[in-house]
Symmetry: D2
Subunit: 289 residues, 4 copies
Amino acid sequence: MSSIKIFGIIGGDKRQIFLAESLLRDGYGVILAGFDKLKGQGFNNLSDVRAAALFSDAVILPLPCVRSDKSLNAPFASQNIYFSDDELDALCKKPVFAGMRERLLRVYPKLENAEVYDYAARDDFAILNALPTAEGAVEIAMREYEGTIFGSRSLVTGFGRIGKVLARMLKSLGSDVTVSARRQSDFAYINTLGCRAVNTETMNLARGYELIFNTVPSLIFDEKLLENTDRTALLIDLASLPGGVDFESARKLGIDAYSAPGLPGKCSPKSAGEIIKKTVFSIIEEVNR
Amino acid sequence: MSSIKIFGIIGGDKRQIFLAESLLRDGYGVILAGFDKLKGQGFNNLSDVRAAALFSDAVILPLPCVRSDKSLNAPFASQNIYFSDDELDALCKKPVFAGMRERLLRVYPKLENAEVYDYAARDDFAILNALPTAEGAVEIAMREYEGTIFGSRSLVTGFGRIGKVLARMLKSLGSDVTVSARRQSDFAYINTLGCRAVNTETMNLARGYELIFNTVPSLIFDEKLLENTDRTALLIDLASLPGGVDFESARKLGIDAYSAPGLPGKCSPKSAGEIIKKTVFSIIEEVNR
Amino acid sequence: MSSIKIFGIIGGDKRQIFLAESLLRDGYGVILAGFDKLKGQGFNNLSDVRAAALFSDAVILPLPCVRSDKSLNAPFASQNIYFSDDELDALCKKPVFAGMRERLLRVYPKLENAEVYDYAARDDFAILNALPTAEGAVEIAMREYEGTIFGSRSLVTGFGRIGKVLARMLKSLGSDVTVSARRQSDFAYINTLGCRAVNTETMNLARGYELIFNTVPSLIFDEKLLENTDRTALLIDLASLPGGVDFESARKLGIDAYSAPGLPGKCSPKSAGEIIKKTVFSIIEEVNR
Amino acid sequence: MSSIKIFGIIGGDKRQIFLAESLLRDGYGVILAGFDKLKGQGFNNLSDVRAAALFSDAVILPLPCVRSDKSLNAPFASQNIYFSDDELDALCKKPVFAGMRERLLRVYPKLENAEVYDYAARDDFAILNALPTAEGAVEIAMREYEGTIFGSRSLVTGFGRIGKVLARMLKSLGSDVTVSARRQSDFAYINTLGCRAVNTETMNLARGYELIFNTVPSLIFDEKLLENTDRTALLIDLASLPGGVDFESARKLGIDAYSAPGLPGKCSPKSAGEIIKKTVFSIIEEVNR
């Protein structure tokens, strides 16, 4: 796979644009397709899907690659994009990097035997994205909370990739941080960060926190726990949809709650684009080894 | 001054409301005046200026205390507020804490010999406010910049109260921070923070920074320096008005520049209110000593 | 197990003494055995093994619990300690907490069916000990290195429990930290800490570092890598014996290398004692659940 | 002064050796005098005082430059060094950088009108040295204290250059830090670091601290305060002699107290040498401007 000189980037949002710019700076050729709404805004390299699929050495598809209506996820395209048969034939002959590969295969079973790599399924991708996610969460907290992070008492539920980075970030900003987790070993790690640890499983109240960040992708903040949460708390749900907060109950109880999935693409598309690039090159390196 | 039991809080924005709530939690009596727009929103203690001036042991006025039209700075009052003669007489008999005392005296020379303390003129007040200012600056950077603070290259011009706190905060968020200052001793301090130092006076280009924060209250970013600043930089001016950036030139050059004075009151009124309280009590403690 | 009121602490070094003091402060009874060398130095609670085994509700043995000559690891005892049959009978009837359980069972097979818990085998124990280990490593570096940690370039090989805590600590002290690891996901984590990542497996030189800390328990720094390491580097091996450094080759090459296993007990016996206590209580809590 | 090509380094300890090495790496010529004890240990450039004084473009003297017996401070010289008349004549014709200039002039009044710069009297020198001082203090604390810095409660008396850096360092290592100072503005700064502030002037007890660092160069820890200090506290005096601790009373009360002046030269001669170099070049730059 080492001879990639031209990347076709088909579909995607701002992240893919930053990805394209970064590849260009590195000396690669880039053919962009699915960005015709940007025409006239100083973008070169805009082309059509066919050219990007045929005249590239490898193709990068967005995250998620396809929408529920089976069209390519291409918000900057003026029309829905579906791959034609000869475009698919072209994709079958080269490495394709896609976010959420199985969705792509469901729409295009023909790609089953093609060299399709799912960059979004990788651990390193998720870990690198924990940083823009944590910054996005801090941004929301800074915007919505009327005090400073410094001196606040905050709770982070879950000590996975995001929880680890977010707890450290809040702590370094001067918050008094409590983290909920489930394993003794995680409690120990949490302590080494200078944070307090509570047990997610037995946590039946969440009092005394001004800021609460949920990272657990299951219904942690149900009606019962919300009833035992301060009304004045700001609750930010970072878990992927359907998330971990009963927003209806939060509304009724008067707790300000925000659903904030997919922060890297929204808040830091530049960094998110760099992370896609980095992960794609990690895949290339591993395959070539 | 030790026998203060009831504070009159006349005029001001959200900061004074948080100040009032904090005083109430501490067990003080509070009479709020100049907040009648909030009527019916769950506020007790709303009263008129006369009552707040007469029936309190000390009065706290906002920052700034009066507007250019000589009325009290009271955005939550439905009508302009001017002190009557007997209200002034009352103010003359008790400690008055005001932000920007000299403005008050210009409007009400009668208060010249009264016990009027300017909490906003104090060093500790300014230093404590550096924290919400820095957080507000970081919030703007997180919102407007398409990458993450982590991994960014940033420049902070000026190493006064705000520069010191902001440089440390950016550094702890993982930015590669350069600080401009004028004294060798400041260069040394900057180095001990793990930041790079440049000389404000000889700085004639500002290249290679994605984020630039000005804290110097004089025209640092004039047309000439802006011409030697990256077009892609995000420039945030934290200096009090008129600020340190030629915004007209920035606009022409296509540099995104934001004027952001008075951040504590806007972004963190709760913390800003606590800081007013803390400073008022420091004054009381010093006077009583 | 909830009815423990009196702990017997038999054998061990300073860690067990701090453990005993901490238990006493918490209101537990403590019978110390194997500390007769301390007689007359202000210690109460000194007793004999028999009393500690029989009249306690639970027994805590040291880490490691027995020496290679099969005697109890009791440096403060004036004579070698071996359990008698009726002492073993007593131990069989109560919870016994020991470091390195399997060694104990090899010497006393009778305890096979007893309630013996190995606190040292637990993940949380190892993680909590990463902190005193990292501080001990920093202490050695501060003592032996003629520059400051601040501004130094350091390499940490291995990103397990100790590597994670140590890298963060060096970074927060202002060192420019590189960490070697083997997995892409670890490279990603290392990056989120603001450190550089290198691949342990392909690392064939270690140039440009003033401080090198090995945490990998296998021969990383063999003759070949040492030949490609700066002569001026300070090399500290934190891995348990036999360690990860060819000290003979280091000596020949003139590289200052230190073997530093077991730092918590040596450098921070007080914290190490607290960690034993904390782990013992985590076990009790889990068993009682 | 811009044409300096050869530095004469006369007298001094390890710091001056590192200074010499650093200058050589930068491409300068260096003549070392007063280091004959190091002969045969791989040092080139060793010469006599006369050569260093005559054949150099500038001379760097140690800190302090002369001893109380009026000889040059030259621990690596086998004999006492005094400047001869023609050596003084030579020194009068070139820039001389010395630590504690006034002592030099007292011994050699002839140099009164010479171009003698005191690098040790400068603010930036003192600030840069705060870092190795703080690291040296932490090293002592790590060595002498049986717990970890992480989780300890520490007190730093004085918020000058050393106090500022040390408080930040202890905080970043996870200590719960209190700082004593005298001004409201310092209390505010201390708070922005996330530390507690107490008033040095009214501080009449120092209870609850495991680690105490004094930076104030006057008798803070007199018998009375020591009587109100925990017996178990570790007390480290960083102030220059005579220091700020009544060591006799500490001994009687059983408080472990350490006098630790001059840490940079002792613990981090390499960094201390770099700081001398940096300061010398700052002086040169200022003079040439």
